[in-house]
């Protein structure tokens, strides 16, 4: 079974500065997908960024980028130019790439989350 660990329960950043959220995972699979989700107080889980394990290039979405280290099983999220609206819970998630649908391997495995506060 796969596990996802987020070791930072809370982080704080000044507006306009950069912050990095950490995530490590454990798997014996060779191909998989990794995600960062944002959950604001409204509770809606919003996809921030995704990374395919077979791609060496780190994913980037505007102010959000990842540092994917496959050998180290590390997947950190960097938020540049932090904005007040970035304040939320951030969850790292893992999903297998292979497997027939009937084994439920499309399910996401989430970490415990990191609460990000943005100070004005």
């Amino acid at each position: 079974a796969q596990t996802v660990t987020q070791s930072q329960p809370e982080m704080s950043v000044q507006e306009a500065e950069t912050v990095t959220l950490s995530c490590t995972y454990d798997t014996s699979e060779s191909d998989y997908y990794l995600f960062w989700y944002k959950q604001p107080p409204s509770r809606q889980m919003i996809l921030v960024i995704r990374q395919e394990a077979y791609k060496q290039q780190n994913a980037t979405e505007n102010r959000f980028s990842v540092n994917f280290q496959k050998a180290a099983k590390s997947f950190s999220l960097k938020i540049s130019d932090s904005q007040l609206g970035d304040a939320a819970m951030y969850f790292c998630a893992y999903r297998s790439a292979f497997g027939p649908r009937d084994t439920g391997r499309r399910a996401l495995t989430f970490g415990s989350g990191t609460r990000l506060q943005v100070q004005p």
């Binding site: 809606q44 395919e52 084994t103 439920g104 391997r105 989430f110």
Partner: protein, 118 residues
Amino acid sequence: DAGVTQSPTHLIKTRGQQVTLRCSPISGHKSVSWYQQVLGQGPQFIFQYYEKEERGRGNFPDRFSARQFPNYSSELNVNALLLGDSALYLCASSSESGTSGVSSYEQYFGPGTRLTVT
């Protein structure tokens, strides 16, 4: 386009009662997954349904059951409620169209149903 919708938004039940939560996926999506998110934790996988069939089950007791209807909407039922069932229940839909790439399997989440068991 409308996103994933869930009803009700909140509900309060008493221990031992039964509850039904509802989810409508994004139009064209054929798969629905259910997750339980206890306060302060990440979501935990409960079920995945595809084309009205159960495709996966997480580590939850038999008190939890679900079904998917011909229009791909889904219900999650929980019997004999316990205090520990108090949580945010999230529904996610995906197209599972079989095309290449991750996007067809990407899960889009609804706003959740907050269940409180007293």
